[in-house]
Subunit: 327 residues, 2 copies
């Protein structure tokens, strides 16, 4: 006797459950084996119409659902250990589920983060994918938001703002429509929104050198403010040093207002961290070996004011909003 | 700077985050400290209109969301260690959130399962609450669905079928409407549906004595079939020994068709386990000390056929469906 729900799980998700602690998804619970490590736990959900768009390809939805969690683990200095998946579906749509599960399995394998268990439920509403991911760090070595010290450098990985502009293109908002941009660039930016690149390779450098870290998911300005608040410090960011992709830099030359979108938009999934001056060289070297570009964009200062973003003329940028909020 | 999302979390959920590993909900991740124990992980989501009804009181929704997970942990023989919460809301409705968070906090405290972290997202659709809960067992001691041996007794806790009938009353289905039942009984059965009683107190007896265990969430018949399939065995259940509450027993006397609902309906959240004959007395004694009623309802036999339910006349009950399936 097997229900449609059981066959769905056996067909699409059992192949992803490669860890012995998953028991081939035939039990009520999974097992994370005891070890000397602390277990870092993070949970992030994505909702159709909110975090992804109804027309987004199912493989990109799967990758985004897992990668936003892998991004959190990396920012905490943790190595991936596995994840559990809650999937709320309107119906069993094989044309959607097959590429979703295939892409999820590919990412689970390439980031070494196997599926451990989950729950599949029906919903009359939008699709929702909720993932809780586990990572391992040596006891006491998780990197927190708290810990930044005055004098530390403020560092980000990769480039900032591409995903926010990609989303603006997908939503066809007025500003995005007004930009002169060819299809190739548009596609590149949209892909940055749809498929984050979690900086899993940087986890070790983060835990070896960072005093505080988080991933940039709700916008650089707002997330830096959160990190500073948790650490009881402030910061100054030198806007011209914020790393921008070539297409975004070119578009900002066309329309300076995009800079605010880049700084306050979300979905970058880059790592924001603070590195003591005397460790920066070692951190930069470790990042280079890991193949992850890092850029120093400012300095932690004492105080409790909101971090200030200073442009090339020494003027402070006024931000009408700092980050994305759901409510 | 604080978003509405951050204030919602600070106001309603920070008071529940009593474990140091929750970092007062100010970080991106939580920590489950390393220990000699295996970590048992379970995840269960509930969706408005599917697992609870739009008019259900928010405090009962909170308790159900956590308790269905606690029930899984207990059935695995694990002691609660904490949980993460994903909450998908249409809006910040204080009249709903305040009693929801208060009841969740009460249950987290009384079952010693603190909130470790979570994610709050907006949705245009039904409310959804997804919880991933963690429990601890000594290494290798998690009780699985696999492990039942021919000759073991089939045992359940509490009474079976009350919640399924409670749901039938709430849905005002034709059969439920035809039953002569006073309001007090109706309320008792509805409460059994809305607020499960997870058998956390029985976790130790389960891990000390059971060869296999799971909780009854999708119906006794279907869940026993799953346990038997995972163990590579079959079973015979003696219907007259299935524990029924006094109200349900009385109603079955009125309308024998209810028996099938009791056996194949869901939401019991009782523990179903198999106990070797020579351990049954010790298990019964431990259960008594834990204050949890247990009843032996049948026997594990060899074979791979679906478990058979035999009535007082020796006839096999034909079940038109064995359990709840979402799809």
């Amino acid at each position: 006797m097997s229900s449609a729900e059981d066959s769905l799980i056996a067909r699409y998700f059992k192949p992803l459950a490669t860890d012995p602690g998953a028991f081939d998804l035939t039990d009520d619970a999974a097992l994370v084996k005891s070890s000397a490590d602390d277990i870092v736990v993070t949970t992030d959900a994505i909702v159709e119409g909110v975090h992804f768009l109804p027309g987004d390809p199912p493989d990109t939805v799967a990758r985004k659902a897992l990668r936003v969690n892998l991004s959190d683990l990396a920012a905490k200095g943790a190595e991936p250990a596995g994840f559990v998946l809650t999937l709320a579906l309107r119906a069993v749509d094989e044309a959607w589920l097959a590429p979703f599960a295939r892409a999820l399995g590919e990412d689970a394998a390439s980031f070494r983060c196997p599926l451990l268990g989950g729950d599949t439920v029906s919903t009359p509403g939008p699709l929702m994918i909720s993932i809780t991911a586990f990572g391992r760090v040596l006891p006491g070595r998780m990197i927190r938001r708290a810990g930044a010290e005055p004098g530390d450098r403020v560092v980000v990985t990769g480039t900032i703002g591409d995903a926010a502009l990609g989303l603006a293109f997908l939503k066809q908002d007025a500003m995005a429509k007004a930009l002169a941009v060819d299809d190739g660039i548009r596609e590149t930016l949209v892909e940055r929104y749809r498929i984050p690149q979690p900086r899993v390779a940087l986890a070790q450098a983060v835990r070896d050198h960072a005093t505080a870290a988080m991933d940039v998911s709700d916008g650089l300005a707002g997330d830096l403010a959160k990190l500073c608040a948790a650490s009881g410090v402030s910061a100054i960011v030198n806007i011209p040093t914020i790393p921008l992709s070539a297409p975004l830099a070119m578009l900002i030359d066309q329309y300076y207002g995009l800079l605010e979108l880049a700084v306050s938009g979300g979905d970058d999934y880059e790592i924001l961290c603070t590195i003591p001056e005397n460790r920066f060289e070692a951190f930069a070297q470790a990042s280079k070996l890991a193949g992850v570009p890092v850029t120093s964009i400012g300095t932690v200062i004492s105080g409790t004011s909101v971090p200030r973003f200073i442009d090339g003329q020494g003027a402070e940028m006024a931000l009408s909003r700092h980050s994305y909020s759901h409510f």
